[in-house]
Amino acid sequence: MNVIISEWTKLRATRSNVWTLVIAAIATVGVTAIVAHALGAARVAPPAGGPFTPLTASFLGYAEYAVLPVSILGVLAFTTEYSTGLIRTTFTCVPRRRVVLAAKAAVTGTAALVAGEVLAFITFFLTQAMLAADHRGVSLSHPGAVRAVLAAGLLLAVAALTGLGLGAIIRHPAGAIAATVGVIYLITALCLVLPAPWNTRIGRFTLPMAAFQVITGQPRADLLAPWLSLLVVLAWPAAILLAAAVLITRLDP
């Protein structure tokens, strides 16, 4: 518990972390509102990859504007300590390194989850209000709406923990950010250029496609079922954190 309090102090006392969250929130809400406005006015076609659903319209800004900065926030939780040398202070305070990893994951993951849920509800109500003008909005009582909103919030915790785990493994900020972008976006991009049906057969195990299945009200048949997709979404950070837990005691800082 002491270690969690200590990690929380580090997170909250670091201005760059707070600013990253604030900017991510403003960008996400802003971009989502713009997209919703455009969709609501029916001036653009719904994005490729699925039919337009009012639900997914709420979270179109998420992929880049929320997930990316929050995943980098996770990366920095470890890599700034390695690059400043502060990790040695941390490990002399808490020699059980896995406890440090667990505490950082708990604090960063919880902060990202709370921020994610708040953001998800804000974007949901905002976009649905805008779509309502076009009589296409839905309310929270719409089937799957609550699940979609909760899942969108959860996605930020997943992004933060994926970044945190890769940061603990790679230790250098630039390398860890590149790896995180690779895991979250580039693997999917590669899958999309594969010939069918391999694009979806492999692609359904990637974070973005699995996340889409969880959030959308109309899951695609060629991807995994929503509940399986949720497992995929959770398995990514779990596997990466597990690898970090193995390496953190084997490699000295």
């Binding site: 002491n2 200590s6 102090t9 580090k10 006392a13 670091t14 300590e81 400043t84 002399t92 000295d252």
Partner: protein, 330 residues
């Protein structure tokens, strides 16, 4: 280095610190290393090192750059896993100590800070990790003279201020063991006096104080005991007094136009005389007044009479000469 004589057993009395000294007994906790070895690939940084650092003394840990001081200290603190051997603090390896800051305070790298955090939050996060309260954070900030800058972000701190912050962090848990890696770097004269008095004071309270340095002069004035290493091996493990007695040679340089006669006189008085290429005589075994009296009694003119003391720094350089990793080409 400094030309002043090195105080050997200067009493700790007269040492004052701004902090109120807690009048209670400190549990004696020694540091013990045995067979400590660390290899990084083909490089052996620390080689079969064994020593004991005793409570109640300031122990200087000396060696040239690259001698393995920092690696040894990192092994003491569980940050590097030894290739062989073990390092124990109070009989336990560091990683097995619960709330280790209450047992061992350490400063390895004063620059290891997050620039965006304030001195206060930096110390607070460290304190919280070991269940140490806020009152103690305020207390050590005051002890280090950092109270006025407690709320400032550390990126604007000078190296000296960072050292003070690092020392404050080491004191947080009021530990019986303190380990400092090159704490004097970046400190001004007043700062150096402060840490000297602080270390002496901490040792006088019964704490185990291990301080590394690559400068002999700095250590000779602070340390009661010296552990000297070179290329990862133990070169000397001795009290500062013994090291000075064994290494600080005294002699007298004498010049006289009748040097042959003077040599005879001095030799028969029990001195050892060595003729220098430039005509001077190096005399040991007699001090300058005795030489002057003998010469005057025989009516021998003396043009120069200079008492000399080989510096400890020279003795230290001689000792570590074969183990210096980096040196300028002649």
């Amino acid at each position: 280095m400094s030309g002043r004589a090195y105080p050997v057993n200067e009493p700790a009395a007269g040492v004052t610190t701004s902090a109120p000294a807690p009048l209670r007994s400190i549990r004696p906790v020694p540091i013990e290393a045995s067979g400590l070895t660390k290899r990084f690939g083909p490089v052996t940084a620390v080689n079969d090192l064994g020593f004991t650092v005793r409570p109640g003394l300031v122990t200087g840990f000396l060696g040239p750059n690259g001698a393995g001081k920092s690696t040894t200290m990192r092994m003491l603190l569980g940050l590097e896993t030894p290739t062989a051997g073990q390092a124990l603090i109070g009989g336990r390896p560091y990683p097995e100590i619960r709330r280790p800051l209450r047992e061992v305070g350490s400063l390895l790298d004063a620059g290891a800070l997050h620039g965006g955090r304030t001195a206060w939050t930096h110390l607070l996060a460290i304190a919280q990790s070991n269940g140490i309260g806020r009152a103690r954070v305020t207390q050590v900030l005051g002890q280090a003279g950092l109270e006025p800058v407690a709320g400032r972000r550390v990126q604007g701190f000078s190296l000296g201020m960072k050292q003070r912050l690092g020392i404050a962090a080491a004191l947080l848990g009021d530990p019986p063991v303190l380990i400092f890696d090159e704490p004097a770097i970046g400190l001004d004269a007043e700062g150096i006096r402060w840490i000297r008095e602080l270390f002496t004071h901490l040792a006088a309270e019964g704490r185990t104080v291990l301080v590394s340095s690559h400068l002999m002069g700095e250590m000779a004035q602070t340390a009661d005991h010296l552990i000297i290493i070179g290329r990862g091996r133990l070169l000397a493990d001795t009290s500062t007094g013994q090291f000075i007695a064994a290494n600080a040679h005294h002699d007298v340089l004498v010049r006289s136009p009748r040097d042959a006669e003077l040599t005879g006189v001095l030799t028969s008085a029990g001195a050892a005389v060595t003729a220098q290429p430039d005509g001077g005589l190096t005399v040991t075994g007699l001090d300058a007044p005795a030489i002057a009296d003998l010469a005057a009694a025989r009516g021998l003119p003396v043009y120069e009479l200079t008492p000399r003391q080989a510096s400890l720094e020279e003795a230290y350089l001689d000792l570590t000469a074969d183990s210096t990793e980096y040196r300028a080409a002649p």
